[in-house]
């Protein structure tokens, strides 16, 4: 392996740990998180039209706090009415 181009291992250790710790702390597997996202989108779609491809839902950490953060762009309602 080329010494000058190889990716330094500390960065990948940190990235991998960040992900693992989020799931360890919430006791939620990545598959369960996907299922949660699907259910959440279904529930929201009953009331408002959303853009499913632009939705971002994930767990974030802040110190020892965990947060479920969702960014759900809505489709414009007025434009549909005008048409």
């Amino acid at each position: 392996m080329n010494f000058f181009t190889r990716k330094k291992s500390a960065a990948s250790a940190k990235e991998r740990l960040q992900l693992v710790l989020v799931h360890d702390r919430t006791d939620l597997t990545p598959a369960q998180l996907e299922a949660l996202k699907d259910d959440l989108l279904k529930a929201i779609s009953k009331y408002i039209e959303i853009d499913p491809d632009a939705v971002q839902i994930g767990l974030e950490r802040d110190g020892r706090e965990q947060r479920l953060v969702a960014d759900i762009p809505l489709r414009s309602v007025t434009r549909n009415r005008a048409g």
Binding site: K8, S9, A10, A13, K14, L17, V20, D24, R61, R64
Partner: protein
């Protein structure tokens, strides 16, 4: 005078809990404190050999709990520091011979005649760990800058939070400054960011630690050892003193001399 009960734990085994206990206890004794160490690893006792007291054991903690001896009889006085004692673990029993309330009772009995009670927790998050944290006023979590150790430390911190054991402090053990500089080891900042707890000390990797264990003389007694210095600093912080963190970059020695010569830093 009432002692502070400090439990040293880690989740993962082999990260340096027992070494940390032996060194912190010895450093506190060197500062004139009265210290009692308790080996909480029933069935796998080791604190006695690391402290060089293995030949003096007559009674152990299970003998105290089951009434075969008085607490004082199970307290082994250190060879060098007469104000430091060890209560050894039983070697032929298992964790179920001790309960959390036994630990609380023993620690309460020790509190009036000592300044610090330091409990060496077994690895894992089961009965032995629960026993070890039951009486703790303060918990120190030991980890290494390595993925499995950090992950297990996070589990332990989560359990301590759930048990409302107060905020634990982190000892980052066996940090290799050269690897960190080359971005091939998690830095102290990385580990603190991941775990989200306060730092009480960084102990650099140091072959003198093994030499100390071999001799049954903890490395804090070696004035030149950098790991010894790090443990002495942590002991001061446990006493409430504000000691600056060591500069781990200013390494002396052959390897760093070679690095300087070749310009590889």
């Amino acid at each position: 005078m009432t002692a502070q009960v400090i439990t040293v734990t880690s989740g993962k085994g082999g990260v340096g809990k027992t070494t940390a206990v032996a060194n912190l206890a010895t450093a506190l004794a060197m500062d004139g404190k009265r210290v009692v160490c308790i080996d909480g690893d029933i069935g796998l006792r080791n604190l006695d050999v690391v402290m060089g007291l293995e030949n003096r054991i007559v009674y152990d903690i299970v003998d105290v709990i089951e009434g075969r001896c008085k607490l004082k009889q199970a307290m082994i006085r250190d060879k060098k520091y007469p104000e430091m004692y060890l209560i050894p673990a039983a070697q032929t029993r298992d964790k179920n011979a001790v309960s959390p309330s036994d630990m609380v009772r023993i620690c309460n009995d020790l509190k009036s005649d000592s300044d610090f009670v330091i409990i060496d927790s077994p690895a894992g998050i089961e009965r032995g760990f629960r026993n070890a944290i039951a009486a703790a006023d303060r918990v120190l979590v030991v980890t290494n800058p390595e993925v499995s150790a950090v992950r297990d430390a996070d589990r332990v911190v989560g359990i301590l939070e759930a048990e409302e054991k107060g905020n634990p402090s982190l000892i980052l053990n066996r940090l290799n400054p050269t690897l960190v500089k080359n971005n091939d080891m998690l830095s102290a900042e990385d580990v603190l960011d991941l775990l989200g707890i306060q730092l009480i000390g960084i102990v650099p990797e140091d072959e003198n630690v093994i030499i100390g264990s071999n001799k049954g003389a903890p490395v804090v007694t070696d004035a030149k050892s950098r790991a010894g210095q790090a443990f002495r600093n942590i002991a001061k912080r446990l006493q409430g003193q504000d000691v600056p963190f060591m500069d781990l970059d200013s390494q002396s020695g052959l390897w760093s001399a070679i690095q300087k010569l070749t310009g590889r830093k």
